[in-house]
Subunit: 240 residues, 6 copies
Amino acid sequence: MQRVDGRKHNELRKINITRNYIYHAEGSVLIEFGNTKVICTASVDDKVPPFRKGTGEGWVTAEYSMLPRATQVRNVRDINKLKLNGRAYEIQRLIGRSLRSVVDFKSLGERSIIIDCDVIQADGGTRTASITGGFIALMDACSYLLDKNIITEMPIKNFVAAVSVGIVHENKLLDLCYEEDANATVDMNVVMTDSGQLIELQATGELSPFSRDDLNQLLNMAEKGISELISIQKNILLKG
Amino acid sequence: MQRVDGRKHNELRKINITRNYIYHAEGSVLIEFGNTKVICTASVDDKVPPFRKGTGEGWVTAEYSMLPRATQVRNVRDINKLKLNGRAYEIQRLIGRSLRSVVDFKSLGERSIIIDCDVIQADGGTRTASITGGFIALMDACSYLLDKNIITEMPIKNFVAAVSVGIVHENKLLDLCYEEDANATVDMNVVMTDSGQLIELQATGELSPFSRDDLNQLLNMAEKGISELISIQKNILLKG
Amino acid sequence: MQRVDGRKHNELRKINITRNYIYHAEGSVLIEFGNTKVICTASVDDKVPPFRKGTGEGWVTAEYSMLPRATQVRNVRDINKLKLNGRAYEIQRLIGRSLRSVVDFKSLGERSIIIDCDVIQADGGTRTASITGGFIALMDACSYLLDKNIITEMPIKNFVAAVSVGIVHENKLLDLCYEEDANATVDMNVVMTDSGQLIELQATGELSPFSRDDLNQLLNMAEKGISELISIQKNILLKG
Amino acid sequence: MQRVDGRKHNELRKINITRNYIYHAEGSVLIEFGNTKVICTASVDDKVPPFRKGTGEGWVTAEYSMLPRATQVRNVRDINKLKLNGRAYEIQRLIGRSLRSVVDFKSLGERSIIIDCDVIQADGGTRTASITGGFIALMDACSYLLDKNIITEMPIKNFVAAVSVGIVHENKLLDLCYEEDANATVDMNVVMTDSGQLIELQATGELSPFSRDDLNQLLNMAEKGISELISIQKNILLKG
Amino acid sequence: MQRVDGRKHNELRKINITRNYIYHAEGSVLIEFGNTKVICTASVDDKVPPFRKGTGEGWVTAEYSMLPRATQVRNVRDINKLKLNGRAYEIQRLIGRSLRSVVDFKSLGERSIIIDCDVIQADGGTRTASITGGFIALMDACSYLLDKNIITEMPIKNFVAAVSVGIVHENKLLDLCYEEDANATVDMNVVMTDSGQLIELQATGELSPFSRDDLNQLLNMAEKGISELISIQKNILLKG
Amino acid sequence: MQRVDGRKHNELRKINITRNYIYHAEGSVLIEFGNTKVICTASVDDKVPPFRKGTGEGWVTAEYSMLPRATQVRNVRDINKLKLNGRAYEIQRLIGRSLRSVVDFKSLGERSIIIDCDVIQADGGTRTASITGGFIALMDACSYLLDKNIITEMPIKNFVAAVSVGIVHENKLLDLCYEEDANATVDMNVVMTDSGQLIELQATGELSPFSRDDLNQLLNMAEKGISELISIQKNILLKG
């Protein structure tokens, strides 16, 4: 099977990361996974949630949203429906957990970093782009805190990146674009560290159940993709 | 390590399913996983969502909520915060996807079944109890439609059940109670069919990344638990 | 006239009260008035409303809600309409006033008790069941505070219970079930103490005005019913 | 005991009704019970609620609100809290039921009349002023429909008015002003027709239970007040 | 062209200001611009917004709303739509800015004055009536603070009033009523002080662009009207 | 006085317009006024608001929002406050009116075009950039409709652009950046067509009233700026 954009089954889309994209934010990137474009900003806040108060430890949280015309059909803004949609809740909770997994909250100290992921153009994989780009924004915000001597130690313990894999017309594919995603019978999002450990795994076979063997093959493919994404992250950060 | 309630590592809690618990509903159960108690009702509705209109196919959706004092500390009701909390959104989307995976929507015809899962007492595993109990309520609602000759064929293709597994103090455990869940470094919810296929897999290692090997051992344990839950479901339904 | 369930005009439905129904709560019951089933929990909270702060006196408040399928036709959840419905507001204010009327707030001290009344199956009389059952939950929460030496004196001064009466096809009936309630031209809810005093009286003749004489006959019937309900409450509490 | 404004125990405050107060509305009054001032408008709407559609019968509903500075301390507007307060819900449901009780919905035909009661200055008794004034607005809206030949028969079957009574420092008083109301141990709102029948009775003894004898004496007093209010209504309407 | 109500092109409607209209408020008026009637109250509040805390300076803010039947067609209340409508937001921000422009916040001290403008009958020009009447309420609230020795100096530096002007069927008109406003191609609201300076100018030619020359002629007309309104304000305040 | 960024008093910031920025939308630009960056998309919708139904005429409306970190201090998202902020309402109404003023709704036919203006980086002048950029997006959406033969005539009658002017430390300045805006005593937004006519004029002197002479000088400066902006628009569109 030929993929819609001519890629190989286990090939990522073109990844582009523009650092310092929003000059107000302590960390910010425009990340592109092919046609998917997400602005990720990291904002440092002196406050922590109630359960952290007085512990000396910080917190990292995420918010995810789409511009109304990030998609083929325009979406009514959440505020006009007075509801954050369920999908956005699910995704921002995933982003938050993924990024927190690599943070040493003692080193961060009693402050929060909020990662805002705003999709300006969507073509599949917005949550994995958000995690991968959000990580760079988070790193840059931590470097900012180090540079200003607000903290004394880099609180990020590992690199983290995410990618989607899925089964489309019985083919296992890496980094699905929207058209592929819409035809996938099995859809899986994988978050891993640079030490090859799993952070999050969300697999769904709503349209067709899948076997343990399928799972393993998809995980192999995801490992390859994430390892490439982490190389890109490392290159970008090295350029400083 | 001794589990807090004396169970073996791969042992389910006592499972109890009371059918026809709410006499208004087309299907309803009170399901208990130990101290966790959830009322699941299945309501037949003549309407379908816009994307199903005119297709001749039906839909299954789920809603999940907790009574304010289902937990140790009382929760403010969503309506008093004017927000459905993110956790509930995430869970009800999971329940909906899981149950839809075993439904033949052509046989169901252009109607909806709404599965309401209301937790009256929570002690860990409320989402897996909701899926396992929601399946029985769904079956009973479909039997009701068959009995009334509204449909001519049972639209349920497979049994489906769910269980949690996790790593607590480096022990891999099946069906975590709240105290275990609060101490888990890795937490995983698994949904499978009676043919041993995976439907959903949500694993999170926010507090500690995990290896592919950990994943496989946890999946083995989940398979055992789900197979026992499906036996219980089958016995209950046989009793008619 | 024969009543739909064969009862005498001045006969209560079968009343069932299961104490300690939710193990997290300081007080809790499942109360059944025939097919009407309500879970009432009493939660102790260290905070008081602003108008009580610094007074040394406590507060009791109530919340009332129905599960979506507690009724013949499924109700959309309040949170999905972003509105607590007017009927629920009216009922929870009634429950709160009724229970507060028998509390000595000095003895309770500067803390709140929140009575949650969640209807899991509705067949008429949910508000009177909520008051009657909420009273037991309130008593149990106060006993808990006494046992823990948090307070030194039982703050409950009287027993309180409630019942509905109404005129259906010109018959005066006690404790209306849903079908009777739907056909009532006059509908009245009465709350009284064990000393035979009135706490609340809400009578409505929207479909047919009523005379002072009707009112007196209905009150006689309600007095009888409430006196029986208070006997049941006393027996339950004696069993400890 | 001397009343704060020098009235006799069973004396109404000065009642003032200005008809046609808002020139856009089909019916409208400014009603004053002493310092309590309420604008009541009646708006004819071609639509009916879903449960009336196709029945040929109409509907009457009410909404109640206060201007922010109708009270001694300014109230935050509901819209800024995103919640209609429970008290307003309770009151507008009472006004709606009271006015519907005297309407022949067949004669009204399949249309709605909405009674808006907006309190511009509050000094106790706002709900009873709303019912008493809302009735005149409703009558005028019906006369408008008759005059325009939209309906052929006056759909109002009886006059209806309302008054508060209560026990203050052990004195039974008619038509309580705010200061009296704030000190009442028993508070009761009574709605009656010109044929001396009861429509609604809401009595609350939150601060002190009351006897059947107290109830009867308060009802006698209310009957007297309502009969005077209905005389005033009749005079106003005669003047055309 | 004859105006609909027979006025000259540059003639105001009959202006009526009733002071001390709501006896609870520190300042209050009923202001009438012809058939347009607005209740303006000024409420003193000890709190200030966060950006004023600790500065020793006060704040003035405004809220604007319409009763449902202030207009020809009844408006659904904001609370029932859970949204303050955009028009109200725009107007209340204009009123707030206009009144703040003449206040010396040092003299006012660290407290707020909230101006509530509630339109009870609308016939065009509600925002200009709100500013003109709100100013009197504000003055009276400041006099109240002076009289009570809460402040020592009148914090109002200038008089301020507002009027609408517009182009209707190519005629430039002062103080448009609703029917004129609905036919205006250019619509302009002007706020000025008694020293002839401009505070706010909002001109819109949505239906037809306009020239600099049109603008100047309309401003001349507005100046005349505002000067007359300020005379009326001064007379009213002199009468004490 | 030297401007903060070295510009002359009557000099625009560097203007950059990137067309076809979001590939899903019928029209879209990224517009930059110096550091201010706004994404404007134009979405064609088959529906029209109720007041247009059956008229054969179309509608243009606008929505305006900021990403949370578009500003120096992060803003809480509207959806998390459940309120669209008043400033956004005011701005989106201005954008809508401005763009509608140059549309021939007969030629557009009974369809809507929604202009979404999402500020990704704010440095003053976001509303004027939104109007100026929104116009290009609107033009491109209309060209799309022409190209697809959905309409037969270009419905845009004139070019329209907007700019801010203001008085800062007694200097009259064109196109204020944030730092200038924060220090302005008079602030004015002007919208004009390519034929030199005014569409909208919003001037506010909250901190210091201004004279007719000030107004005229500011308008002269705005005219110059808008004429340059319209030249840029024309060049961009010529490049096609």
